[in-house]
Each structure stands twice: as C-alpha cells, then as structure tokens.
Symmetry: C2
Subunit: 157 residues, 2 copies
C-alpha cells in the first residue's frame, strides 16, 4: 500500500534534455477508469510489468497499490484494456531534492510532453525547474486514464 | 495467466455436508465490474488475500489472473470496493474426479447456497452430485459481481 502525491506540469522548452539521468519506454493500458478505482497495466521497455490500482484523488493525494506481474500476464491484460493504450518515453531528470519524470508521448498522443514530480508529503517544498510550463495537476484531461479515452493532445485553454 | 472454466448450480439439499473436506471464510469486494474486466479483492479467513482480474466470459471460459497481495493492502482495497461486499463460507467437497466448492452466503445474501466446479477444459466430463439443483452457469444474476451490486437472493424464475 502506498500513497501517490504528485504535481504535474506542461513543459515550456527542451532544456530538461541536458539533465536526463535515465530513460525507459512505457506502454500502459487501463482496465478500469471508474470513480472507485483506476486499474492500470504498464510494461517497461518490453521487459518488466507492473499492475497498479489507484483510488480516488483527494487534492494531491491518492491511494496507490503496485504489484509486479509476469510479462506474459501483462501482454494479455493489455489486450483486455482500452484499445487506446498510452505509449511514452519517460526520462528521469534530477532537480533540487527531487527527480522529475518527463514523459514524451508517442503514438496517439504524439507531441505531448508532461513533467511530473512525486512528493513525500503534500507539504513537500518542490523547486520548480525553469523549463516547466503551466501546472496541470488538477486538469483531469491530462490524467493518463483520460488520455487513454481521448486520442490527441488536449487543446490549451 | 490462467483460464477459468466453471459450471455453477443451485443446491437442492444439504447432503453435501457429509463430504466436506475443508472450509474457509471468504470476504470479497469488487473494484471494477465493467464488460472489459472484473477486478476482485478477496480475503481468506482474515489471513491471506488475493487480487483477481477476469476478462469477459466466452461460453464457459474466462481469462483469469490471480496475485497474492499483502493483507494490509487487501483491507484498504476492500474499503475502495463496492460497499456490498460478498461474504460466504466456502466448503470443498470432492465428488468423482473433481472438487466442488459449495458457497454458503452470509450477510446481505444470507440463505443463498451455490455449488461450483472448476474444469480443466470446457469438454471435461463432470459427474454431477445428486444434491445439485438448477444449473445457473449462464445466469448472470448469480455472478458474485452481480450479487455485490444487488443485495438479497435472486428470485427463482
């Protein structure tokens, strides 16, 4: 059992690329996106797979449960998931005391770039890099579960 | 990854009680009951917990994925599930070459008794015990996911 506490931003430019520590290819599909629970299957670099259940969000905080599962299971679960799987390359970018995850989307959401930071507590102070754009933490259109239902990049408001 | 191939019956009398091999108390809640996937958390005897994902049924056959999870996670997931959790005592009853599972429901479905048998293949020959009632394999009202949405015993047609 865990908690997910995160903030999420659009990205203003490519300056983050100079600080990339490591990268992985992620493919993810959704088996449930109900108000009660989000159930996600994610495959990393076609090698390793994690099943994640998330509860409803309360502000920045969300219950999160993660279980490593066999790759063969993950491939079968991906077939059962919403057809619009989310594909992206995730780059880890250290900044201040946190490691940012910069997701460069591919396939149906090609062109979209989102930066996320996971915090220990909702009060954690985060040093914001200069390459960030608008914060979209509370904008549900940028939730990956929403993206899986809606191909394309959400239009800026 | 696995497959669930099962037949399900009502129970006509209590003759099965003479052949019980072992019993356990099951509590189960549903995090998703969509057409795409059923996601169930189940706690055995308040000691051990299993997370199960099932795909859509094709005849008797259904894709099934089971993962043992920490009891603490299971309790939190049970809180996130549909409020009408299903509670029952499951008795294992060997008969012929199969072991039947006789579920005696408690709580919201008190009075309901269902016998299930899991088969290796859909063509498996099953010796039906004399204590069985009507077959309800194809009657969705007796799916535990349906029961979790509808307290009470489905009326006989």
């Amino acid at each position: 059992m865990g908690q997910e506490i995160e903030r999420k931003f659009l990205v203003a430019n490519e300056d983050w690329q100079n600080a990339v520590q490591s990268s992985a290819r992620l493919q993810q599909g959704y088996l449930s996106t109900s108000a009660k629970a989000t159930v996600r299957i994610r495959i990393f670099d076609d090698k390793r797979a994690v099943l994640t259940l998330k509860g409803p969000a309360t502000g920045l905080v969300r219950a999160e449960f993660e279980y490593e599962v066999p790759l063969e299971d993950a491939r079968a679960l991906m077939q059962m998931a919403d057809p619009n799987t989310v594909e992206k390359r995730r780059h880890r970018v250290p900044h201040g005391n946190h490691v940012w995850e910069v997701d460069v989307f591919e396939g149906l959401h090609d062109g979209l770039v989102i930066a996320e930071v996971e915090m220990e507590t909702a009060e954690d102070e985060v040093v914001l890099p200069t390459w960030l754009g608008r914060e979209v933490t509370a904008d549900d259109r940028y939730a990956n579960a929403s993206l899986s239902r809606n191909p394309g990049i959400p239009p800026e408001m």
